[in-house]
Symmetry: C4
Subunit: 205 residues, 4 copies
């Protein structure tokens, strides 16, 4: 069952490993705006309470990166080879992951402003679109996928990867009406992702 490699094929292993490195670092750098926060002697409790918006955005970004990581994992579980275009698409994806600590920091400091909300939502949309593009490129015509992936399974993985970006989309127009309302609308990610996973169940690979 060993196929001859096409000339532009490359080793698959380093791509998810390199991506995991970027994921792990980005997820950990999110804590830095908290670590740098100034806490005054004698009012540690109040200062911690004032940091709660930053703690909330840390948790939010952690959950979002965690969800994206799980989808990325699922996608690369279904590939058994890679080529150079996949590497470029994956770098575009990681650009979004590596950039996320910046919008997270702006949002933690200025959650009530329209540009902060739009910047954050745009960043998340970028990652979601790159994720869908990676799967679409690798799965169309079975270009890079394992033999076990059925058309139905491919549709399921596509649904999982577009769920989060779709749930984020409404927040961008909403941010011009009410930034606070827009932020609450991000909680849509949880039911929409859950529904996508239920409606389009994974198949074993």
């Amino acid at each position: 069952m060993v196929r001859a490699r096409r000339a532009d094929e490359v080793g698959l292993d380093r791509i998810p490993m390199f991506s995991d490195g970027v994921f792990a670092i980005a997820i950990t750098l999110l804590v830095l705006p908290l670590t740098d926060a100034r806490i005054t002697e004698g009012r540690v409790g109040q200062d911690l309470a004032e940091l709660s918006p930053r703690i909330f955005t840390f948790a939010l970004s952690f959950v979002v990166i965690g969800r994206y990581w799980m989808v990325h994992h699922r996608i690369f579980d279904r590939f058994d080879r890679a080529d150079r275009r996949l590497m470029v698409l994956n770098l575009a994806y990681l650009f979004g992951i590596a950039f996320l600590p910046f919008p997270t920091s702006v949002l933690g400091g200025h959650g009530s402003s329209t540009p902060a909300v739009v910047l954050y939502a745009t960043n998340l949309l970028w990652i979601g679109c790159a994720s869908a593009a990676i799967w679409w490129y690798g799965s169309s015509g079975g270009r890079l996928t394992r033999d076990e992936v059925t058309p139905q399974g491919a549709r399921a993985t596509l649904a999982h990867s577009v769920a989060a970006p779709l749930a984020l989309l409404p927040s961008i127009p909403l941010a011009f009406l009410s930034p606070t309302l827009a932020m609450y609308s991000w909680l849509l990610i949880v039911p929409v992702s859950f529904a996508a996973d239920r409606l389009f169940p994974d198949e074993a690979v």
Copy 2:
């Protein structure tokens, strides 16, 4: 002995590797409050002496993360497959690891205050409970464990994973009486972990 994969099973390898990335980064970020410290020309010695509480909390967090890493290692050595719920539990675990540099930094600056001690101990408890939950979920009914894991071996791993959180528990009420005493009580981790490892010896897997 190759079993058919269940539909929701996922590749096991990326989970401990991704976790190791988060561990490695969190353990290394702990040094940043030290690196950022201002040292004045001509009194380098005194300034270093004044940094000793920060050096102590760096060492403390390093030892705690090191212990948790060893237990995490032991748990995943005993699994031979993974599913999506395990990934979610593991992300909850890593949330605690990635967050730890923040309580460490607060504690290093304000060790004598009740909220700093409670925040730090709560963070450690979170990780400990997530660790026990990962093992409990994966081992109950042999859901994800290797065939070689005996009921006795499973109990041993559970004991190892609950030892550290149990030793930390008393420090939270103590912090309201005396934050300093509460911090000393953390040293209980060393004898309690040692006792757990002795009383419940590992079995080969």
Copy 3:
């Protein structure tokens, strides 16, 4: 086909993995000057606009590291063993990667100055030369390469690794005439890399 190992041969696997770690961290640290930026309440939009040079240099460095990572990947895909000299050359290479966040930060703050541009271009040249040296050392006389690598394939990989440094070279004299013009000249990386990949196609390994 198992050869006896020469006495100074070392395991190959840890070198690309360690390199990927350094890549992943350097690519992620690039965001820190953005995260540290001060955003003032009530003028979030304008402050974000003023950060655009920093966002541009983040994107530029990300693209450059991404390109270098792809070439590094290609080089190590073609090796099947390693020795101590290769490790030293690779550390010289990683020195350049780990250093890059510093010129990126200087450039983001002072793009219009000659020293900032020269520093950045020199750093990129260092990495490019180290990359070419790694390939030249490992491929000459088939020292570390797989049997499948033909002389033509070796030439192609050499061309890919020198493309980016060659495209950067003109920017150093240009920086003394016009730093802005020198920065625009970096965009030469895109067509020159593309041309190198087209003129010297990879062969399957």
Copy 4:
């Protein structure tokens, strides 16, 4: 040739991988004091020149970590199993690696002071001693080593791991006479390491 595992044996793979993560991050964090440096408009050149001690200490620490990484690599290439004591020794080793950005930062700012030099040299000695302890523990009586490791090869690896700490030792008393002289004495690492590698050549494993 499959041996039965002893009860306290653990998987070997995650230890060097976790260590590489800590190495990669520590080596990359060394750049942060440079990234944070304040550069004033209109005197970028002079400010960069004033940063040269920090650039020198960055390069020094990079070379030292690089040397230690190569020795660590050699040691773990010679092991084929691991136990819990090895994990604890390795964590003690990584404590020194993760701590190094702090002495590096102090030294970069205050190289001419005795405490800065002593702190830095002590940190390097700690890593060197832990490295020798890891090898001594794992190789004595062939506890964890591959069958191919001869007594002569074991002596060679011990010599490689003690070379750097031995070369650093004189700098601690010297720092009380002249911190500058003590720093120059660190350059002894290069000839001493080179001599150790020549006098005690590696054997293939």
